[in-house]
Amino acid sequence: MYAYDEIDRTLINERVSEFRDQVKRRLSGELTEDEFKMLRLQNGVYLQLHAYMFRVAIPYGTLSSKQLRRLAHVARRYDRGYGHFTTRQNIQYNWIKLAELPDALADLAEVGIHSMQTSGNNTRNVTSDQWAGVVPGEVEDPRIWSEVLRQYTTLHPEFSFLPRKFKFAITAHPHDRAAIKIHDIGLRLHKNEQGETGFEVMVGGGLGRTPFIAKTIRPFVHGRDLLSYVEAIMRVYNSYGRRDNIYKARIKILVHELGVEKFAAEVEEEWQQIRDGALRLDDDTIEDIRSRFSYPTYEKLPHMPEELRKAAHDPLFERWRRNAVFPHKATGYSIVTISLKPVGAPPGDATADQMDALADLADKYSFGEIRVGHEQNLALPHVARRDLPALWKALDKVGLATPNVNLISDIIACPGLDYCSLANARSIPIAQELTRRFANHDTAGLIGRLHINISGCINACGHHHVGHIGILGVEKNGEEFYQITIGGRADENAELGVLIGPAVPYGEVADVIEDIVEAYLALRATPDELFVDTVKRLGVEPFRERVYATR
């Protein structure tokens, strides 16, 4: 957990005062909507179909129980009793009133939560591995560097009016849970041959109308040069990124139009001028940030405690444990994923009651810490294995123990046409129906890891391009239709999915997915071969045949 100091708290409070003044000037007519829109976006306030939507930042997906309780309070006091966790580790509220927003922000500021730059043409939440700091095999905790970047990018005077939004992600593990390759800047933390910490810097990833996988422009940037190198990239983008067409304004387009070599050379030229300047990070500065991250003092606990041994006879507990519990770097501990994908419910939503309950469980079983993942699930990062049976019972009581993590019913979906003014089609009902078709968790377990991603429009907030199965809502003659892709991946082997055929109507999507799964079960080489690997091995054709044979 990172502890905010006086400086961090002062900045958040000054921001709240500023926004309060801006809202006042908007509601008095002193500011027009045209002038106000960018200001409210810079505080995460969108206008959606029914109401304003308020996006709150959860930096690199880490929350304290106190903070989670305050998020529950905001849901209750200012919204309709629930919140939605997003594909960028943030939380969204859908029914916020503009006039009450400054108060909501003040309530959040008290526990060090803000909404700065969660929207607008600026630098957004720096996301990371939700298992940072606790997963075996990690090089070092990427959240230290995420926090360094968060501070550097917050209210940066030069980069607050970019051509378009800008997203960072950092991973420090061979298996990338942060999807860095689909970000504007993706950073892979690793050590060089001298054992020094640095980053492979990838630029120009992104989905939407023109999806791209990020390209490496420098295989190793030393940790001390991270900020100056990022500043060089940002300055090149701010100066030369297109501003004539919002669909061509992301850095991925600039990289594509210049070519990677030329882009990298521009960055290098700029960087050489500033690398030894004020942005050079010395060990003291990094140490200062690191020192404000606190880590639990783990007890020496057995890997197979009595409580766990006894609970092993319970098939429901075992099913959950095998599905949602992951190894921890400290012996006797585990990482527990909390599925927010119950059968028949909107993916990624949690009620205020659930948030409060989880905060209590975090206090009791996870040193008061909760994580948010980009797959729209939560996690308790420090659970003693002896506490798993008790934790499971408590989670189950509040509907947070669905044993479908990483399975076909663990769907990632954007809010879609039910909420979003940009959408062409609904996504949540599609997700709900799919969870009902695959409600049998044992069957889902037999199918194995399979990521379905659903987006209600081409903006791809559901990351459908990189789903093992991707579903994209489109409009045809006023009706909802869906394009289906397969074979996408968001991890270190990131790849864009391939379209299997013409779009299918709303009523047929679940049938199509069932057909695809049937094809997979018939074609897989072994029960261990994952769906996405079968697609890789055989290509799209066998699936296309199966789906469109009768359509």
Binding site: E33, A51, L98, A99, D396, G399, S421
Partner: protein
């Protein structure tokens, strides 16, 4: 349901209204013939041609203080003049999300 925010030209193929969101709380509102806003679709002024629509929109947009994001939306006129939303997007705006709001999965144990 291509976002009407992407409307460049105004093309009216059926009766339409002007709709927006109320500035202070974001509520869905419709422009009335009396140059006011109402949360009730049945109070909305109905236009039938592009010129009429353009004029109503221009007049609505001028109320920058009361409303945000005004645009032209299709409707259907029923028997007796009742106004109904003309596409799925407007149905969702008028009557809310198509999904249950608060769901908690029953405990498995």
């Amino acid at each position: 349901m291509t976002s009407p925010l992407e409307q460049k030209k105004i093309k009216i193929t059926q009766p339409s209204v002007v709709t927006a969101n109320r500035t202070w709380d974001g509520a869905v509102i419709y422009r009335t013939a009396a140059q006011q806003w109402s949360t009730e679709l049945n109070d909305a002024a109905v236009v039938r041609g592009a010129d009429e629509a353009r004029a109503l929109l221009a007049e609505s947009v001028a109320d920058d203080l009361g409303a945000v994001g005004a645009y032209i939306a299709p409707v259907e006129i029923g028997a007796g003049g009742a106004i109904a939303p003309g596409n799925l997007r407007e149905t969702i705006r008028a009557s809310g999300v198509t999904i249950p709001l608060l769901v908690q999965e029953p405990a498995q144990v």
